[in-house]
Subunit: 157 residues, 2 copies
């Protein structure tokens, strides 16, 4: 192997660090949520349902959590079986499905909020570090959405 | 819904931002890699094989990429069928499998490196922002590993 001739540039090195950090944080959060009998994506759906000011459809959930519509539908189906969400057909047009939290889903949402050692890790950073992290994350989101739009004209417009 | 009484604390808000940023960056990178006929995890395996100074086994790959051993073995199997890697049985003990890049894997590695619009997004941040991002990421990795160790005594020691 020609490791000697392989030089990563600054962006590649930072990307590798970010990927690894995310992988580790996600793994830690998944282990923590497993203790609350939940997966990361399920927790994300509960959050989205909890904070949305407007009715949520599987399509909207797929869009805001950036998942494929078919995997979101399958996930909603599993969560409905577990009694965490209910689907209602009271929107106009009638073929739209409205996803709502059940009392059990509400309880699960509260339970995962108290399992928060991973989420609280950022409290060990300084206020200045947290502010920079938040502002960089905001910029990267805007730029990533730009690139996604360029690569998939349509779905994210 | 009692959205009025739902208040997220600073850590929860930052966590939400980081999760969303990662989801978007990963989705953008996946779209970019799809153009190079590759998935994100495949690209990560190629990187790991490329930069490792020592022989790589499926077990080591699973460990450094924080995947389950059985999914890593399945992934290696698929990549071998695609001609990107080869498995060799020349280590001691004999039951250890050594995973190596093929010429085609090498070519795929170089191809995904040139599809780098997503990886280059961080170049739009200031040098100071990149430094803070890198240092925060480093601290979060250390703390996440600590938590993972506490939650799974054994495998990550």
């Amino acid at each position: 192997m020609d490791n000697d001739t392989l030089k990563f540039n600054e962006n590649e090195l930072l990307w590798g660090q970010l990927i690894m950090t995310n992988t580790l944080l996600q793994r830690a959060r998944e282990l923590e949520l497993a203790g609350a009998d939940m997966s990361l994506i399920q927790a994300m759906v509960l959050y989205a349902l909890k904070i949305s000011p407007e009715p949520m459809t599987p399509g909207k959930l797929a869009k805001i959590l950036y998942r494929e519509p078919h995997s979101m539908s399958a996930l909603i189906g599993r969560m409905e079986k577990q009694g965490l969400v209910e689907t209602k057909h009271d929107l106009v047009p009638k073929n739209l499905v409205r996803v709502v939290l059940t009392a059990r889903g509400e309880e699960a949402f509260q339970r995962q909020r108290t399992a928060n050692a991973v989420i609280n890790l950022t409290s060990r950073l300084t206020k200045e570090e947290r502010d920079t992290l938040s502002s960089c994350a905001g910029k990267l989101r805007v730029w990533a959405i730009e690139l996604i739009r360029q690569m998939t004209p349509g779905p994210y417009d």
